[in-house]
């Protein structure tokens, strides 16, 4: 029952966030299409968070060799791929009516986010290809740490290249959106965080159960017995 608290809470906050997003007045220039902002931006931020958690889990595994950190890193990468896909999809759906095309190569942040998606597909492919759990944790943790170089590059690319994408809307000196829109956005951001946590914890639990089921206390050599040749 306790395991259901987080998913239920995430669902409730998500519904509230969705309602608030629909209730805010339409944007002066983008009209109702701007509402997709409440999904696209939180999805992007959570994707970045997820990949940082993967890197942290990777470093922690390297330092402690405790299986939990590897499970955390793997689970966070899987969830991160999901949110990155959501960010790319919603970005494309937003781009078509606003920019006139689904994909804009002039948008450096969009291209960099797509790259981040591929980096972590490679990370998950590496995990899948390595059978031994210790070797898998070791190899994946190395790539997890190296891959996080990409994440700051995505975020700061908006400042580095000329881009059609709007510059960071939430800045340390204050946001450039109205208070109603800001409120709805923050609720949606909270919802996405809760969904991320719910998915992460479930995936970690599943990973542990899978490992426990696969572990064997029977010596490997017991599978080999003396031959029993029947007469021809």
């Amino acid at each position: 029952m306790r395991r259901l608290i987080l998913p239920i809470l995430a669902g409730v906050v998500a519904v509230i966030g969705l309602a608030l997003a629909m209730a805010t007045p339409p944007d002066a220039f983008q009209g109702d299409f701007a509402r997709i902002f409440h999904v696209h931006v939180p999805a992007s931020w959570i994707a970045f968070l997820a990949f940082f958690v993967t890197a942290l889990g990777s470093v922690a595994w390297m330092l402690t060799r405790r299986a939990f950190w590897d499970r955390l890193a793997a689970a966070s990468a899987e969830v991160g791929v999901l949110f990155t896909a959501a960010a790319l999809l919603t970005g494309s759906l937003w781009g078509k009516p606003v920019w006139g095309r689904f994909w804009d190569w002039g948008d450096a942040r969009l291209a960099s986010t797509a790259l981040m998606f591929f980096v972590y597909l490679g990370y998950l492919a590496l995990r899948r290809a390595t059978i031994d759990p210790v070797a898998r944790a070791r190899r994946a943790s190395i790539i997890g740490m190296v891959a996080v170089i990409q994440v700051p590059l995505v975020y700061f690319s908006v400042n580095l290249w000329r881009s059609l994408h709007q510059t960071q809307t939430i800045r340390p000196d204050g946001a450039s959106m109205g208070p109603e829109m800001l409120g709805a956005f923050l609720v949606n951001l909270l919802a996405f965080n809760l969904v991320y946590l719910a998915l992460l914890t479930s995936r970690i639990r599943l990973g542990r159960a899978q490992e426990e089921a696969a572990a064997s206390s029977v010596p490997a050599g017991s599978a080999i017995t003396a031959p029993r040749l029947d007469p021809i």
């Binding site: 059978i131 031994d132 759990p133 210790v134 490992e211 696969a214 572990a215 064997s216 206390s217 029977v218 010596p219 490997a220 050599g221 017991s222 599978a223 080999i224």
Partner: protein, 209 residues
């Protein structure tokens, strides 16, 4: 002083239990044989002793260095390992392979030529390894071990597939190591060979001694 002590060592690879609570000791000047059926864990135990295979549980020490500590890097150059695969670089000549090893272990390069002559490969020293037979490659591996003069010699089916001269070389290698206070662990399926060449035999079955 014991060259090798292993206490309750277990090794799990890909979730499979390969070694189960193994105790093992090797004294100075001792030659111990490892026997057992296929899949018993003999090669894995050899690699644990070589400090190349991490243990899942248990403890031990090899040449004074505890397993799983940075200290084991320092004693590795005193370990000689020989198996089915001589580990030569196919594009390099036999001499270049041994000279590369000499450079890595800080021996004079001329020693490489000396040991190749000692194993009877002087005439083939300039031949690429991929143009030499497996027997010649394994003799080159023995030359490398002669040059190394290891304190701990680990042989994994080292006699299998060798001609009589090469077998003599292996025996000579073991004799030299033993006479200098070192030790040897020898894996073989050939019970007769093990009985003739070792002080005692340890039998492994299903990962247990």
């Amino acid at each position: 002083m014991a060259l090798v002590t292993l206490q309750h060592v277990s090794v799990r690879v890909s979730r499979l239990l390969i070694l189960d609570q193994v105790d093992f000791e090797l004294a100075e000047g001792e030659v111990v044989g490892l026997a057992g059926p296929n899949g018993a864990g003999k090669t894995t135990l050899l690699h644990v002793i070589a400090t190349l295979q991490p243990v899942s549980t248990g403890s031990g020490a090899v040449l004074g260095a505890s397993l799983g500590t940075p200290g084991q890097r320092l004693i590795r150059p005193s370990i000689g390992l020989s198996g089915h695969d001589p580990g030569l670089y196919p594009e390099l000549t036999l001499a270049e392979n041994v000279r590369l090893f000499a450079r890595l272990v800080h021996r004079p390069l001329t020693e490489a030529d000396t040991v190749l002559a000692q194993v009877g490969l002087e005439g083939a020293a300039g031949r690429r390894a991929d143009r030499c037979s497996n027997g010649m490659q394994r003799r080159t591996d023995l030359a490398r071990l002669l040059m190394l003069r290891p304190k701990l010699l680990l042989l994994d089916e080292a006699h299998a597939g060798l001609d009589d001269d090469s077998e003599i070389l292996v025996d000579e290698l073991v004799r030299r190591v033993r006479s200098e206070g070192g030790g040897c662990v020898m894996v073989s399926h050939d019970a007769t060979r093990l009985a003739a060449r070792t002080d005692r035999i340890v039998t492994i079955r299903q990962g247990r001694v």
